[in-house]
């Protein structure tokens, strides 16, 4: 038998109990899921309210910690707004991961001040990375080139030869090394000055380059000496190319300080064979040997009167 007085006092306390219950979930650290005053059980919709409040509590706590994985089943205005925030943060995480991979086209929209700041950051990042890439390529080029002639320097040449000949394929074919040296270059400098000497060096390098294939390697070895690699070209072919270069140098007319200068050059040709497989060290040793032999031939060309080509297998000057 129910006690009417008890029922009446319970009904009067209900709003207060309900307020306390809601405040407890929203405010108290020590609140526990499932705790509910007995007086509220049985109230229509109380279970849904309980679930919704705890969902909001769990979701806001998770978001506050940066935990974006919490799955919330609740619906409605507040939960919906929180889930939109969660979804936006997930998307931002994904975009940040894309940007970290170098995809700088990503932008964030419709997130107020955050959008502006984030997009500005990405634009700056993109600009800085592009500039760094440009500078890196510029310095890489500068470090591999002779500043006067624009041709490869010795170190870059050696690395390129090793890269070209260190693997299989074409590198298994014999290649040719040509050493070129401008005749009487010291005299040019002494007679006409170093400015003229620089003009001669630049023009000579340009001329040689114009007579070679795109994948041939031309390097300023030092002073007025140049070395050329003809990949995949046998010695006989190399000799023909060297003769063409010799005629090319002979045919040049250079203008400097109001003067017309004619130059000649001498050439030594040797074979470079790199049987596979070879380590980098072995390729370098083969290259050094070929360069030395080409240099010996060049010396012979100088002794033979200059303006000529000497190949290592043919000791007399070539016609």
């Amino acid at each position: 038998m129910c006690n009417p007085s008890a029922q009446l006092s319970s009904a009067a306390d209900l709003p207060q109990e309900l307020l306390g219950f809601v405040m407890n979930v929203l405010v108290q650290n020590s609140a526990r899921e499932g705790d509910m005053p007995e007086s509220l059980r049985g109230l229509k919709g109380i279970e849904e309210l309980h679930a919704l409040l705890w969902d909001i509590r769990h979701l806001t706590y998770a978001l506050g910690k940066g935990d974006l994985k919490y799955v919330c089943k609740g619906k409605g205005y507040v939960i919906g707004a929180l889930k939109t925030l969660q979804s936006n943060l997930c998307h931002l995480t994904w975009q940040a991961q894309c940007i970290a991979k170098g995809e700088y086209q990503h932008r964030v929209s419709f997130m107020g001040d955050f959008s502006t700041a984030f997009n500005q950051m990405v634009a700056e990042l993109d600009k800085n990375v592009a500039e760094l890439m440009r500078l890196s390529q510029k310095y890489k080029r500068l470090s591999s080139r002779d500043s006067l002639t624009g041709m490869y320097n010795r170190r870059a040449f050696q690395n390129l030869v090793v890269d070209a000949l260190g693997g299989g394929g074409q590198s298994e074919l014999p290649s040719t090394i040509i050493m070129a040296d401008i005749d009487h270059f010291k005299k040019v400098n002494d007679t006409y000055g170093h400015a003229c000497g620089d003009v001669v060096l630049r023009a000579f390098a340009q001329k040689m380059s114009s007579l070679l294939r795109s994948h041939d390697l031309l390097c300023r070895y030092g002073g007025e000496e140049f070395v050329i690699l003809l990949p995949g070209a046998a010695l006989e072919v190399g000799a023909v190319v060297a003769q063409r270069l010799c005629r090319g140098a002979q045919g040049m007319t250079l203008h400097c300080e109001g003067l017309d200068l004619r130059i000649t050059a001498s050439f030594g040709v040797s074979s470079l064979a790199v049987p596979q497989p070879q380590s980098r060290k072995e390729v370098m040793e083969a290259l050094d040997s070929a360069v030395k032999r080409a240099d010996d031939c060049l010396y012979q060309a100088k002794n033979a009167g200059r303006n000529t080509v000497v190949c290592e297998d043919v000791n007399a000057p070539a016609a």
């Binding site: 619906k75 205005y77 939960i79 889930k83 939109t84 994904w94 995809e103 929209s109 419709f110």
Partner: protein, 174 residues
């Protein structure tokens, strides 16, 4: 069917500049939703809810495929594809696409679409309504991946949420 009047092509867009020199290329969302929901009303009354939804999904698939081919194009990477779709949807004011989660190994994704054309601002009706969008997303994924996906809306304004959430998974796994 041997001859058809309405096989889709972009010719149905026509020359809007020529056709609407005064009213221009824009109209209100009200017009769009009026068209869609009256059409759905008739389809549902005639064929039932399930069939009407299937028709709408198929129409959405056709639209998504054509939309992607025209406004997004072929993309090499998934991230680039998502970026392209986002931009296109934003430019045409269809919605704000967000990538919520991805499982590339299993080809499962969760996308959200805020301010969706079909449903944003709708009251809670107890069921999702963006069936056309489901097909639309499936059509776009088909263009990118060259395979079929099933797309299901799991949250919608009309289910009491404030953004549409779609689950995308390979068709064979559904």
């Amino acid at each position: 069917m041997n001859s058809r009047f309405y096989r889709f092509s972009w010719d149905f867009i026509g020359d809007i500049e020529d056709g609407r020199p005064n009213l221009g290329n824009s109209t209100s969302i009200v017009v769009y939703r009026l068209f869609q929901y009256t059409l759905r009303d008739v389809l549902e009354a005639r064929y039932g809810t399930e069939e009407a939804d299937r028709i709408f999904y198929e129409a959405g698939f056709l639209a998504g495929k054509n939309f992607c081919e025209r406004f997004v194009g072929r993309r090499e990477s998934f991230n680039d594809f998502v970026d392209g779709v986002q931009r296109a949807l934003l430019d045409l004011k269809i919605g704000l696409l967000r990538m919520e989660s991805e499982d590339r190994e299993n080809a499962r994704f969760t996308l959200t679409m805020a301010e969706d054309l079909d449903c944003s601002g709708l009251p809670d009706m107890g069921h999702a309504v963006c069936t056309y969008d489901e097909g639309f997303i499936a059509g776009m994924f088909k263009v990118f991946a060259g395979r079929d996906f099933d797309v299901k809306e799991i949250d919608c304004w009309s289910t009491g949420d404030r953004t549409c959430r779609f689950e995308v998974k390979p068709k064979s796994a559904s």
